[in-house]
């Protein structure tokens, strides 16, 4: 069954490389959603930027498909690499524009998932999302416990500001300050790779 999935993907790649537009479209269809939802959006945050980066990723993939050489990991890691490089360029461009002095943090290479050519899109998306969640958790661990709690209350549990303030035992105005400090600190330690 696994071999069948791998053979299908390989056949699609080879057909697309030979100029078959339907095969190309099938490949892009298969991987564009995991690329957007689990690779690009969790790294850039802004949906419009993530969509632009997805367009650019697919454009480059189409142009460079003839350079792709098949491996057991399939075509997704190749697409992911294009996407992540684009994200890093995007972040650096923004940093230059905003004159930020923050270092572009990177995650340890061990958290990059090992993909298989026969994996379903949902599996790929789950694996990628777990990488994004780990990156978020590691960044949260660097925060003061009350700052971390403020982020969890507001963004993970999605509680209203008033409820968040009450949970921390502070006024809403003070909660806003805590959350502002927490997100500013988080921005510095939130990796993009």
């Amino acid at each position: 069954m696994a071999d069948q999935g791998e053979n299908t993907d390989r056949a699609l790649v080879e057909a697309a490389q030979a100029g078959d537009s339907r095969a190309l479209r099938a490949l892009l269809d298969r991987f564009s959603r995991p690329l957007y939802a689990a690779v690009l959006l969790p790294r850039v945050g802004n949906p419009a930027d993530a969509e632009d980066l997805l367009h650019e990723t697919l454009r480059r993939a189409v142009e460079q498909l003839h350079t792709f050489r098949w491996t057991g990991a399939g075509v997704f890691p190749w697409l992911r690499q294009i996407a992540v490089h684009l994200v890093i360029d995007h972040v650096r461009r923004n940093q230059r524009r905003q004159r930020l002095e923050d270092r572009l943090e990177v995650e340890p290479s061990g958290v990059v998932p090992l993909h298989r050519a026969d994996a379903e899109e949902e599996m790929i998306e789950r694996q990628e999302r777990s990488v994004a969640v780990k990156a978020m958790e590691s960044a949260l661990e660097t925060l003061n416990p009350r700052y971390r709690r403020a982020v969890e209350l507001r963004f993970v549990e999605e509680r209203p500001r008033e409820a968040c303030a009450e949970a921390l035992g502070v006024t809403v105005g003070n909660f806003d300050v805590i959350l502002h400090r927490a997100v500013a600190a988080l921005r510095k330690s939130y990796g993009v790779r």
């Binding site: 957007y36 939802a37 959006l41 969790p42 850039v44 802004n46 993530a50 997805l54 507001r154 806003d176």
Partner: protein
């Protein structure tokens, strides 16, 4: 008399300034926007904070329907682009090769022109016999050394003037 804002917990770091409170309020207002709303009107610092908040949101609360719609748009656009001749590697390679050939041709032409000596430019080292065989101009010295000197000076001026008029 103390206001609620005065009850600052020291565990939360140093007490905020009015400026920090104002920035925190602006951030709270920005977070009220839908995640897909543009943020271009915000300051760069605020945009960066909102992007971080949206990263958290996208990580924890994925929106499969929105992702599907974005992916469909991107695939459609990429497929359209792939149908254009420019998407074919051999077309791009051919164009690059043609541009390269044009450049080489231009460079070759320049090099050839640059290497060709100026048309009909007289040399300034004509044999002395030529200078001695010519007629003596009015007012010029008739000594051989003067005639050779005058002849070469004349040639030198001609070369100089020709160069300036180019």
């Amino acid at each position: 008399m103390s206001t609620p804002e005065d009850r600052w917990n020291p565990e939360d770091g140093p007490p905020p300034s009015d400026e920090e409170r104002s920035a925190a309020g602006a951030f709270a207002d920005a977070l009220k926007r839908p995640t897909s709303a543009p943020v271009d009107d915000l300051s760069d610092a605020l945009q960066s904070l909102v992007a971080t908040a949206r990263r958290l949101d996208a990580t924890v609360h994925p929106d499969p329907d929105a992702a599907r719609a974005v992916a469909a748009r991107a695939v459609e656009r990429a497929a359209q682009r792939a149908r254009s001749p420019w998407a074919r590697p051999w077309v791009r390679r051919l164009s690059v090769a043609a541009a390269g050939l044009s450049l080489l041709g231009g460079a070759g032409l320049l090099a050839t022109r640059g290497l060709t000596p100026p048309r009909a430019t007289p040399g300034i080292s004509r044999p002395a016999e030529d200078a001695l065989q010519g007629p003596v101009e009015a007012g010029a010295g008739s000594m051989p050394s003067s005639r050779i000197y005058d002849s070469r000076l004349h040639d030198y001026r001609a070369v100089l003037l020709r160069g300036r008029s180019r």
